[in-house]
């Protein structure tokens, strides 16, 4: 049985969308700037478009989950992000939720 490639792609994106926030929060336990964060995510198999990642970082920061700081590195000013204390607590709760969903899905699948 062949499946509709476009339909699969849209469902795959929908599936990924919710987990990307969790991945970004988890990656920012270590301080990073946007470009290196994207590379770290890609290295772990989670490719993310810049146009999605950067606005997401700003949103998470405005929600108080991230802290940011402009600093000069390699002769250029870069904005570094790291989890705030609230972000750390949120990551812990979300990771627990994720594991629960994963365990339930594993049973069903």
């Amino acid at each position: 049985m062949t499946i509709d490639v476009e339909l699969f792609e849209s469902m795959r994106l929908e599936l990924r969308r919710g987990s990307l926030v969790l991945a970004v929060l988890a990656c920012l336990r270590t301080e990073r700037y946007g470009y290196t964060l994207r590379q770290a995510l890609a290295a772990d198999g989670l490719e993310m478009e810049e146009s999605t990642l950067y606005p997401l970082l700003r949103r998470l920061e405005s929600q108080g989950l991230l802290l940011s700081e402009w600093r000069e590195e390699e002769k250029r000013r870069k904005r570094f992000y790291v989890l705030s204390p609230m972000g750390t607590a949120m990551l812990e709760r979300l990771a627990g939720e994720w594991r629960g969903i994963n365990a339930s899905l594993d049973k069903i699948l």
Partner: protein, 376 residues
């Protein structure tokens, strides 16, 4: 100006003043980091094409800037859209009926200029229709922007849902029963099978089709009798020359039969709207009109000459016969010349096949309706 700066300027123009510098600085760092990484991998500076490819990957400035915008992503979001669509559909149909009734009253009360009245009715309908759509869109956008959700959107009761049939004109004729009766009788969408053949379709489906057909054929009738004009039909442009299109004598000969045929079709549509349950009568009427259509199609085909294209003294006929009904000729369609004679030949072939397909479709209509008349 550097290509990257030009790109950033386009993004900056879409952002609010208070966060513009911050976002642009971060984007600049992202772009330059990507450029440097690529240059390191290639061991040489990037060409303009390669730099542009990176910018294209990041996205169009409008899209990139939109991602940073606070507030809703769409004018009317998925939660409000069904209400907006219902409002537009029901509102337009009510406007159409009100305009139609107003026009009808003016026409039967002995108007001095029927053409002007019809034109005014069309003008009035389109004007108020556009105003209605604009007003609903504005109201929806305000509700979306300020996250307003009136009580009637969230706190609804099943017994109040009857009015929602208004967006489907076939319910106007068929709604002799209450909404609750319809649900009880199982005619509502909840008990519909996943797929249905035409024979299994409900009167509502035929009603929607009939309403659309009535309006479309009505517009054709108005054009046919000269009350409505569509610019661009009497002349086409070929290779920069304005070519006039004149109808062949067959259209004058068949003027009255074609008008009667169209009015007959409108009659069936009206009958379907008023008596959606009368399946057998509808099938019989459809057979009669389809037979008339078949007779007309044959006469038009038999005439063999349908239009004449002329530019200055040069003329070419759009004409055809059975010889053109050959698949090899269809395959050669794309190789047709772009001059006057070539375009006339192409149009001749297309019209011949259109008439043949129309004849087959009419025969199918006759057979299918005969079957429905027997089964109903």
């Amino acid at each position: 100006m550097d290509m990257v700066e030009r790109y950033l300027e386009a993004v900056a123009a879409q952002l609010s003043a208070e966060e513009r510098d911050d976002i642009v600085a971060e984007l600049r760092d992202l772009i330059l980091s990507r450029v440097e990484a690529k240059e390191e991998a290639l061991g040489r500076p990037l060409t303009d094409v390669e730099r542009e490819a990176i910018l294209k990957e990041i996205g169009h400035p409008l899209v990139v800037a939109a991602r940073y915008r606070k507030g809703p992503d769409s004018l009317i979001g998925p939660e409000l859209f069904p209400y907006w669509l219902y409002g537009v559909k029901a509102g337009l149909l009510i406007l159409l009926v009100v305009s139609g009734i107003g026009l009808f009253i003016r026409l039967i009360s002995g108007t001095a200029d029927a053409g002007q009245d019809i034109a005014q009715a069309f003008h009035g309908f389109f004007g108020s229709g556009l105003t209605l759509i604009g007003a609903l869109t504005l109201a929806g956008a305000i509700m979306e922007h300020y996250a307003i959700r009136p009580k009637w959107l969230t706190d609804w009761r099943v017994k109040d849902l009857g009015a929602f049939g208004l967006s489907d004109p076939s319910w106007w004729g068929a709604s002799v029963k209450s909404a609750s009766d319809r649900i009880g009788a199982g005619a509502g969408p909840a008990r519909r099978p996943m797929w249905r053949t035409r024979a299994m379709r409900s009167p509502r489906d035929f009603g929607a089709e009939a309403a659309f057909s009535f309006l479309a054929v009505g517009l054709f009738v108005l054009w046919w009798v000269g009350l409505v004009h569509f610019p661009g039909l009497s002349a086409i442009r070929i290779d920069g020359d304005l070519v006039s299109v004149s109808p062949a004598p067959i259209w004058a000969v068949l003027f009255a039969p074609i008008l009667l045929y169209a009015l007959g079709q409108m009659g069936i549509d009206l009958f379907t709207l008023i008596r959606p349950q009368a399946a057998r009568m509808r099938a019989v009427l459809a057979i009669l009109v389809a037979v008339a259509g078949l007779w007309l199609t044959w006469n038009i085909f038999e005439a063999g000459h349908w239009f004449t294209l002329s530019v200055g003294a040069e003329q070419a006929r759009i004409a055809g016969d059975g010889v053109l009904l050959d698949f090899d000729r269809l395959r050669e369609l794309r190789n047709g010349e772009r001059d006057l004679t070539g375009v006339a030949s192409t149009l001749s072939l297309i019209l011949t096949w259109a008439l043949a397909i129309s004849a087959v479709s009419l025969v199918y209509t006759i057979v299918a309706n005969a079957w429905r008349a027997v089964r109903a």
